[in-house]
Symmetry: C2
Subunit: 180 residues, 2 copies
DNA sequence: CAGTATCCTGTCCGATACTG
DNA sequence: CAGTATCGGACAGGATACTG
């Protein structure tokens, strides 16, 4: 992608989407987590055109989410394996999955998370690692961090917030930056 | 999107991406969480072309993630507010943010999650709501659920897995479906 | 099997102009 | 202010053929 636009270049969501925002990318990562490593496996499982697969695979390698390494010389063949950064994407995938299961699976769950040992269904929940509390809004919110530039600071509240008490979730305040 | 392809139609990740997979969509949702409700706010904050914004907004409304409701008649004006399904997307956004912060913010954090009351930085972690255990692989895995069709069952293990002990994370087994 | 090369179509998207 | 209408370009993406 090549957006010169007003999009905040510091936004970590924006930076993530630059890597995985393309249509096929997350599907490819999902296949990688499912065990696919070879060109042919990705292609068959996704039904993606080979030129597209090449493009996306190379982009993922360039972005450091996949590592391309030879598993055979003569002829030279590569496999694509998740890097540490790529493996760290798993929680994102699982959170998306939970969201889809909750809202877009009216006929029941086709795919679900379970405890590998017991088979007990698991239900993903986000917590704060330090306090152990559920990571919910408005108990937690996004604010400008230490590396924020002027533009970011103008769009995100700097803690402590000037308006301490969070507004109600449904109260649509016209000015932004107080609801996240 | 209109992919007739082999993509598993039951996959909850696929179903989610059908709703939020387009380039602008997640950016728009982020702005909505930041407090934007009006056409003009989205446009200014994102630098998106108006026709595109209209398209994406309508798609989000059609998919039930935003609700379009009049805030003025004469002239008729609408605001776009997150529905329950839309609000449930917040954990996804925060998980993506955490991933971006960890891997793509070498200069330090520009935007971060904090405790609204104390300002203490929060660190998102995924756990299983029922057991309270960290939701990590291979302790947890994705398997075919009760509503899985034949195709899904063939691609995802049905618990209990035929190969009970999970393979090591780095051991790239050629056949898929045992690593997620 | 693991891609590369070509060609083609659709549409995403931006720019601009226009309207109540 | 909140969009709609139209135009054009870039490119994502599919289909196919080809290669070691």
């Amino acid at each position: 992608m090549h957006h010169n636009s007003p999009l905040n270049p510091q936004c970590p969501i924006g930076r993530s989407l630059e890597r995985v925002g393309e249509w096929w990318t997350i599907h490819i990562l999902r296949e990688a987590f499912l065990g696919a490593t070879r060109f042919d496996q990705f292609q068959k499982n996704l039904g993606i055109a080979p030129n597209m697969l090449t493009r996306r695979l190379n982009a993922l390698v360039a972005d450091g989410l996949l590592e391309k390494r030879p598993y055979s010389t003569r002829p030279l063949r590569h496999e694509y394996v998740l890097t540490a950064a790529g493996l760290d994407f798993r929680p994102v995938l699982w959170t998306i999955m939970a969201w889809g299961n909750k809202h877009f699976s009216p006929e029941g769950l086709a795919i679900q998370l379970v405890d590998s040992a017991t088979g007990t269904p698991a239900e993903p929940q986000l917590i704060d690692r330090h306090s152990g509390r559920p990571l919910t809004w408005p108990a937690f919110r996004t604010v400008a961090g230490p590396a924020a530039d002027a533009r970011t600071k103008s769009r995100y509240p700097v803690w402590p917030a000037t308006t301490p008490q969070p507004t109600s979730p449904t109260a649509g305040s016209a000015d932004a930056a107080d609801a996240a």
